[in-house]
């Protein structure tokens, strides 16, 4: 029978495993806007992991920095520089 503790560790493992393809696609993809969205998925998974690791203060800062400000700044610089990579 699964206890609550086992279930929490299983959720931790699943979210860590789901952050791996998000990272791979964020590094590989040619479209920078798609890379930004995959990086947002990775940030969401890390948010769930920080929550399960009992760190609510870090969640409060990490969401604002990683989903909010970094997305805004990278979208601004993509608008200046151009959306697609060279090859």
């Amino acid at each position: 029978m699964l206890e609550l503790a086992d279930l929490i560790f299983i959720m931790l493992g699943i979210s860590a495993l789901l952050s791996v393809p998000a990272t791979i696609l964020a590094v590989i993809s040619r479209d920078l806007l798609k890379a930004l969205i995959f990086s947002a998925l990775q940030s969401t998974m890390y948010t769930l992991m920080f929550f399960l690791l009992m760190a609510p203060d870090i969640v409060l800062v990490y969401i604002a920095v990683s989903i909010g400000f970094m997305s805004l700044l990278i979208i601004l610089i993509i608008k200046k520089v151009g959306r697609y990579e060279r090859y």
């Binding site: 279930l7 959720m11 947002a40 969401t44 769930l48 399960l52 805004l72 608008k79």
Partner: protein, 92 residues
């Protein structure tokens, strides 16, 4: 009463995890940018409801503000991407 509530919420967590996996399938498949933003919207809003259920399971009210902040910033990401898509094709 206590074990009844805890068991019910533990069973409800499984369905939430299953639907998160299905949303992530759409996010990895999505042909255009708009579909991916749509999937990450639904993922974020459902994660906010999921964190409330988890904070009842942990018996700790200090974890609640996380879900408020998550909701607000997912909306902000939505507005950024919409503004980028519209401004690049319309004016600029």
């Amino acid at each position: 009463m206590e074990s009844w509530v805890i068991n019910f919420l533990t069973i409800a967590m499984f369905f939430y995890i299953a639907s998160f996996l299905l949303y992530i399938v759409r996010l990895l498949k999505g042909p255009t940018i708009s579909d991916m933003v749509l999937a990450i919207d639904a993922l974020g809003y459902d994660l906010a409801a999921f964190l409330i259920i988890l904070s009842i399971l942990f018996r700790n009210p200090i974890l609640i503000p996380c879900s408020i902040v998550l909701t607000l910033w997912i909306y902000a990401l939505d507005i950024y991407v919409a503004k980028y898509l519209e401004a690049k094709e319309m004016s600029e």
